[in-house]
């Protein structure tokens, strides 16, 4: 996260004339990448305004991200947030579905102004749901930014 914040973002803004506001920045990740996007949401919320979390591994470390969200909620709920949560309907390994649902419920209940979407891709598994969730996540972002 330090590399993204201190090296990557300044360089992109310098070389590609990217928008420099928090509200214009999007982070997207799948699986552990989705966990990383959720980590950015809870712990580096000042960096990104938009989060596309695809099949996030929220079970990691006894649902530490959900606990972090509770701990940091009072600080980060003041920011504008856009969150897309995507999963495959048939991710039935016994660890993906319920933390995903719990995180969604935490966001829905505690962030009144949030642009929030949850999507379960029918008949698809962990890898198979990635591509349709990328497409629908980006569509959600462009329609609600």
């Amino acid at each position: 996260m330090q590399f993204i914040q201190e090296d990557l973002i300044p360089r992109m803004e310098l070389e590609f004339a990217a928008d420099t506001t928090r509200e214009s920045r999007v982070i997207i990740g799948h699986s552990f990448g989705g966990l990383f996007a959720a980590y950015a949401f809870t712990s580096f919320n000042q960096v990104f305004g938009n989060y596309l979390m695809l099949s996030p591994s929220l079970w990691y470390d006894n649902e530490i991200i959900l606990i972090q969200e509770q701990d940091h909620r009072d600080v980060i709920k003041a920011n504008h947030q856009l969150v897309y949560l995507g999963l495959g309907e048939l991710e039935k390994s016994g660890r993906m579905l319920v933390p995903f649902q719990a995180f969604y419920q935490q966001l829905e209940a505690n962030y009144p102004g949030i642009a929030l979407e949850r999507q379960l891709q029918p008949h698809l598994d962990h890898q198979g749901s990635k591509q349709p969730n990328i497409i629908e996540g980006l569509q959600f972002y462009f329609q609600n930014r």
């Binding site: 606990i67 016994g94 579905l97 719990a102 419920q105 198979g128």
Partner: protein
Amino acid sequence: MKLIHTLTILLFLSVLSTANAQNAPVKSAKHSYPVQKLTIEPAIGFNPSSMSNVLASNIVQWNVQKRLSVISYTAYAYNNAFSREFNHITTEYNYSLMQKFGIGTSLYGKRASHTFSLMAGIKYDAFKETLTNPELEPVSASINSTSPDVGLMYNWKLGKGKFFFSYRMYLPIYPYPFKTTDFWSLDGNIGNITMEFGVGIRLK
């Protein structure tokens, strides 16, 4: 598409073998594997990709002709059998029900027969998880999903008597390429490959 090509070639080769077998002289007919008109083949199995789903299944195979069979396949899968508690996540239930029908063709050896069939039917998946982390609100979530189940099945029967050994392997061709041609959706196909072993009973 590569998978489809491979499967098409395999099916074509099996048909060619069948045609050649029909043209071959019948010099040892009394020693060849008998055509079983009707068999029932209960079995148990697993998904080799995850090794965590166990199945109980049954096949009823009716050989309409020597080279043409009609097959019914029924299965119950107990999924995620060995990790029902994980990081405060409890799997309340997790199972699949499958019912498929198919047509196939058989090759006959001296002591065994090999049946290749194209199967189609439905699969019902149901699972429920509960999160009971003491630092979080308890939450439950469940899925009930019905999806198409299409694939190729290989069935090996060993033994000439009323009872025989039965092995079968199922290779799904859904969701790839029928729902999506995204290569990564193959994980859904691979997750539903099954290998099953059982005892067949010759009814007719």
